[in-house]
């Protein structure tokens, strides 16, 4: 009973915050941030309590973690056997996500108190943050695939609202539209995937669906595997389309184009939505349906390759960007690629499930250090008033706390031993190594690049040339901005020491995560090489980076222009779709559809011009028409209608 109450409150308090701040924001003004943050403190407390209760009291029974459903009710009943439920589902991954979402959200709330101070739409900002937190918590606690879809769209909406928060900037408006359209386009795939899967399984409920679509003897599984379209089974189609939705949300290649642009939003928003929580929804979705994915190896292969390619692609692009938030955005995409292919190389059960645990582990640690990095970037931007790293350099003396936190974040993401990223990345690499050597080498290269571009960022911002402060109006930032950095730094260091395999695994059983010293030497060595190269190039200002860029020539330019993906999208949409589909459709609309309307209008007008004289206003004339009508009827009935 308590857990029903607590879990429901976890979701409902942010909703309450949204309604309160949304309706009374104008009245509350300055207090709005405090109220939002207080509500978030309560939510975080409840979420931590619930996660503790699940992992240590309720969840573990008969040797494995069982999912519990504190709340479940029928929301829409179309006919018996065909209904949509709503509910709350707590299992290892959703309990873990509860912690991630609420902790990061709380940190972002606190940070925003200082960062957004003096903003005109301060209350609206916090209202939107609450809406996002509500949607994300609803998403992770969904009991069925339809409910997850509803909250999936809700997080999309809140992301749209927050990216376009500075709606007087055309670039922010364009970015929010781009994010919404690209993810909506991907969600079309998700919706079709939901329909295929739920049609074949005969249910929307996760647990039942997983049961029916994984047991080889069940009739649903047999039909789903045998019925096919263009030589691919219905099961694979459904899962692949669901993965398209997940890839859109998680910014996997080629649907990643919206993520770098989404950096137009306020920086704390990027930390919350576009680094730690919403963008990992795709990973979460695959993890949620993992047993079904497991029964369709081609889809898992697809997940693996898309993830690995995105990881490498994003890492290469990140090495060339100069906007610090864009570097972090590509880094996020790269790390999500890691999580994706880790899921792809996992298989159900036992040691084979290492990839699953590693992926979730990385999701957890990544949320900590990436939120930290983004908040640091927010503090830097707050101080320098610029996003571009060419305006920065030598900041370490001016912003000591940010400097230390940023360094911790960089060390963690680079996989330097004893920081959290090291443990999760090692697990992912180990899983990849055991499953697929090619993926392993790609991942190794990517992690070297990761270390390089993160330290490139670090050295260019904090070292390189000396900083010339143009305005010395304010210091490093308020305490409300520093405290989240410190807390997240602690998280970024310590999150790795959680024995994650004990709690989260593909089959709910405890998984022993082994640690091989010999295996770690190569990845750590590669990371150190990346760091040293970055140090050599960027520690003090010199001509080497430019010379190197020049020697790479065309490849560097292509990477700098993000491999022209945006241009390809623009070409396809503007040149091909606009000219090939849009313009003919507009022509048909203008000439044929409108034409029919115009003709009928003209005919009506012409006829009424001719006959309007009948209504003369003369009463006696009307009487004559009346009499004539009567005479006609009389003649008809007397003589003609025999």
């Amino acid at each position: 009973m308590t857990e029903t109450f607590v879990t429901a409150l976890i979701v409902l308090i942010p909703l309450l915050g949204y309604i309160l701040l949304g309706l009374f924001g104008r009245v509350l003004k300055r207090v709005a941030g405090g109220i939002g943050t207080m509500l978030m403190v309560i939510t975080t407390g409840l979420a931590l309590f619930m996660a503790y209760k699940y992992f240590f009291v309720l969840g573990f029974s008969t040797g494995e973690y069982q999912a519990i459903m504190p709340l479940r009710f029928t929301w829409l009943e179309f006919s018996p056997g065909m209904e949509i439920e709503m509910g709350l589902l707590v299992d290892p991954i959703s309990a873990m996500m509860l912690v991630v979402v609420t902790v990061v959200s709380l940190m972002v709330h606190v940070f925003s108190l200082g960062y957004m101070k003096g903003e005109e739409r301060y209350a609206t900002y916090f209202a939107h943050l609450s809406l996002f937190t509500f949607s994300m918590l609803g998403l992770v606690l969904s009991t069925n695939i339809f409910q997850i879809y509803i909250f999936w769209e809700l997080v999309g909406v809140s992301s749209f609202l927050l990216i376009g928060f500075y709606y007087d900037r055309p670039s922010a408006v364009a970015a929010s539209k781009k994010a919404f359209i690209v993810t909506r386009f991907a969600d079309l795939g998700f919706l079709v995937g939901i329909l295929i899967l739920s049609f074949n399984a005969g249910t929307l409920d996760f647990a039942t669906m997983i049961q029916r679509l994984t047991i080889a003897e069940s009739t649903e599984f047999k039909t789903a595997v045998t019925s096919s379209f263009i030589g691919v089974s219905a099961l694979t189609w459904g899962l692949a389309l669901v993965f398209v939705g997940g890839a859109g949300k998680s910014a996997m290649f080629p649907l990643h184009v919206w993520l770098p642009d989404a950096m137009e939003g306020p920086t704390p928003v990027s930390a919350l939505i576009h680094a730690a929580t919403m963008v990992v929804a795709g990973v979460y979705l695959v993890a949620r349906l993992f047993p079904i994915f497991n029964s369709s190896p081609p889809t898992l292969e697809m997940v693996t390759w898309v993830g690995a390619f995105s990881a490498l692609f994003a890492a290469i692009v990140a090495c060339t960007q100069t906007d610090i938030k864009r570097v972090l955005a590509y880094s996020t995409m790269s790390q999500i690629g890691f999580m994706m292919f880790a899921l792809g190389v996992a298989r159900n059960g036992g040691g084979e499930g290492l990839g699953f645990t590693a992926s979730m582990f990385h999701l957890f640690t990544h949320a900590m250090f990436k939120a930290l990095l983004f908040l640091c970037a927010g503090a830097i931007i707050h101080y320098v008033h610029s996003n571009d790293m060419t305006d920065m350099g030598g900041l370490r003396k001016y912003m000591p706390v940010t400097h230390a936190s940023f360094l911790v974040g960089c060390l963690a993401i680079s996989g330097v031993p004893f920081f959290s990223g090291f443990f999760s990345k090692e697990a992912i690499l180990l899983a990849a190594y055991e499953h697929n050597k090619v993926i392993y080498w790609v991942a190794l290269l990517t992690s070297g690049l990761t270390a390089f571009y993160m330290f490139r960022l670090y050295f260019r911002v904090f070292w390189n040339k000396p900083y010339h402060p143009h305005t010395q109006a304010h210091g490093e930032g308020t305490w409300s901005m520093m405290i989240p950095l410190i807390i997240l730094s602690v998280g970024a260091i310590s999150a790795g020491y959680i024995p994650f395999g004990e709690y989260v695994s593909a089959d709910g059983k405890k998984l022993e995560m082994e640690f091989h010293l010999a295996f770690t030497l190569l990845p750590v060595g590669i990371s150190l090489v990346g760091i040293l190269v970055a140090m050599w190039l960027y520690r003090i200002e010199n001509g080497k980076p430019d010379a190197m860029a020049a020697s790479l020539g065309r490849f560097y330019k292509a990477a700098y222009r993000k491999f022209y993906i945006d241009e390809i999208y623009l070409f396809v949409t503007r040149k091909m779709l606009f000219n090939g589909v849009g313009k003919p459709a507009a022509w048909i609309d203008r000439n044929i559809v409108d034409g029919i309307m115009n003709v009928s209008g003209t005919v009506t007008l012409w006829v009424s011009e001719r006959i309007k004289g009948l209504q003369s206003g003369k009463v006696q004339q009307y009487a004559i028409y009346f009499l004539a009508g009567v005479v006609v009827l009389v003649v008809y009935f007397l003589y003609l209608a025999k």
Binding site: G613, G617, K618, V619, Q620, A623, I624
Partner: protein
């Protein structure tokens, strides 16, 4: 002296009806128009009563209808007079051809 039969009465009512119609079409004074309508209604009344008396002497349906029509005619006169008075107030005339603003 012959008793008047059904046909005599029908001839009278028909004459009355067409006198009414003629008056309705040719007069311009609204009060006269109203009187013409009364003639038309009365010709119908006459028909009802005559048919009732000659064809179904044992029943009273036609008479009832005649009474109804008289009642309705009275109500109609009340409404029509009210309209005529209002028309006179606004147009200073009760000429039907002066009041033809309600057209296309």
């Amino acid at each position: 002296m012959q008793e008047p039969g059904l046909y005599h009465i029908l001839i009278v009512s028909t004459a009355l009806f067409f006198i009414g119609v003629y008056g309705f079409f040719t007069r311009r004074n609204l009060v006269t128009l109203l009187m013409s309508t009364e003639l038309i209604l009365n010709s119908v009344n006459l028909n009802f009563v005559a048919f009732n008396k000659y064809l179904w002497p044992g029943r009273l349906d036609g008479v009832f209808f005649a009474i109804f029509i008289i009642a309705i005619a009275a109500a109609e006169v009340a409404v029509a007079i009210a309209i005529i008075i209002n028309l006179y107030r606004s147009h200073k005339s009760i000429d039907v051809e002066k009041a033809e603003e309600m057209k296309y």
